[in-house]
Assembly symmetry: C2
Homo-oligomer: 196 residues x 2
DNA sequence: ATACTAACGCAGCGATCTTTGCTGAACTCG
DNA sequence: CGAGTTCAGCAAAGATCGCTGCGTTAGTAT
């Protein structure tokens, strides 16, 4: 977690930023309503003066955007299994596992509510990861689908389910990963993994 | 727009509710930040006393949930063209057109930020609409995909794009509906509608 | 090692939000 | 047509939030 964006990277500034970020994550995870997530509350939890938060971030929305940017980047390592299908499956499984955490979903909810910038921060890294996977397969000499097609067929369902179906899918419990496998199969145009 | 959920359907109560709901929609559409969307502001816009809003809804989150529930139900009419593919295409096009409105997206963003209940209100009706389309095709004697498959292949991409890609897709401008057609084609496993 | 600068803590002010008890009007039922 | 209930308007008080100077501390550079 590189906390090194500022004129004074090392020392107190970084400590304060980390503390405030963690406070936001914790409060959101505890189910604090967005309207109750106020700067004095965050500052108190972080052990930092509210003035500092006002000066550095200005508003709760910007602060949440900052937290989302740091939280949703660099968590998932792009795998390299040697095949496109397996790469996508493993990657999507990691993403789905990440989004299965209620705390993560709560933060994403808050980010989406905070505005466009914070929303995009939740998925910006995903696109680049997919692009990397596709590029690798291209380097292997294989044919790859469009980037947008992967987003539609794989990323969108995972995010949609996490956001709008809190109960989850029934077929996701008994056989973990079966849904991801089916999505990848459908995406790549093969029916190999489609038999129920 | 049936504003008839309450102990006193007709009269002042309904008028106040409609007024407050419209005020919320307008303010959200005008780009008012969530943190500035406060109850006194809403009440002032609605021409209603703040006390009334406090007593009836309690918090902004509950109010937004209420608005979302009324806004995202009954807008799209389930079509009946005689074929499953055409039905899905037309229905999805309507949904996409609805979500292309920035005001609608702003309200959905606020709803997602308001919590789980409000979020689900954004898509609850969509599932039943898909189910109706599938049931109709079944009555015709045709084979239909799983409900969840339609959600994954059609609904999820539309919602994902609306939320996380505010700029929109490039291929959505020149040929409106082409993306929906491609999604439906992929979903039904036929390449008939895939030629650009 | 010392001077410099950026960032944090502190205290208090003004504005806004939220709540509460009461009064009056409007809708429904007998 | 009249009685009862529900609901909105009103005003005031308490609490909280967001913001602005100023002093102090902690990194950074010479």
């Amino acid at each position: 977690m590189s906390e090194a964006s500022g004129s004074r990277p090392g020392g107190r500034s970084a400590r304060v930023r980390a503390s405030v970020h963690r406070a936001v994550e914790d409060l959101v995870a505890e189910g604090v309503r967005t309207e109750d997530l106020t700067i004095p509350v965050i500052a108190a939890r972080a052990g930092v003066h509210a003035t500092t938060v006002y000066r550095r971030w200005g508003s709760v929305a910007e602060l949440i955007a900052s937290v989302a940017e740091h939280r949703f980047t660099g968590d998932v390592v792009v795998p390299d299994t040697g095949g496109l299908g397996a790469d996508l499956e493993r990657w999507a499984t990691d993403v789905a596992r990440d989004l299965a955490d209620p705390d993560t979903i709560a933060l994403m909810r808050a980010s989406i509510g905070a505005g466009e910038t914070a929303s995009c921060a939740c998925t910006a890294d995903r696109r680049t990861q997919i692009a990397a996977i596709l590029e690798r397969e291209t380097a292997r000499g294989g044919a790859v689908p469009e980037l947008d097609a992967v987003v539609d067929g794989l990323l969108a369902p995972i995010y949609y389910t996490a956001l709008f179906e809190p109960a989850g899918r029934d077929d996701d419990g008994p056989a973990p990963g079966s849904r991801v496998r089916a999505l990848v199969g459908k995406l790549l145009g093969k029916d190999q993994a489609l038999r129920p």
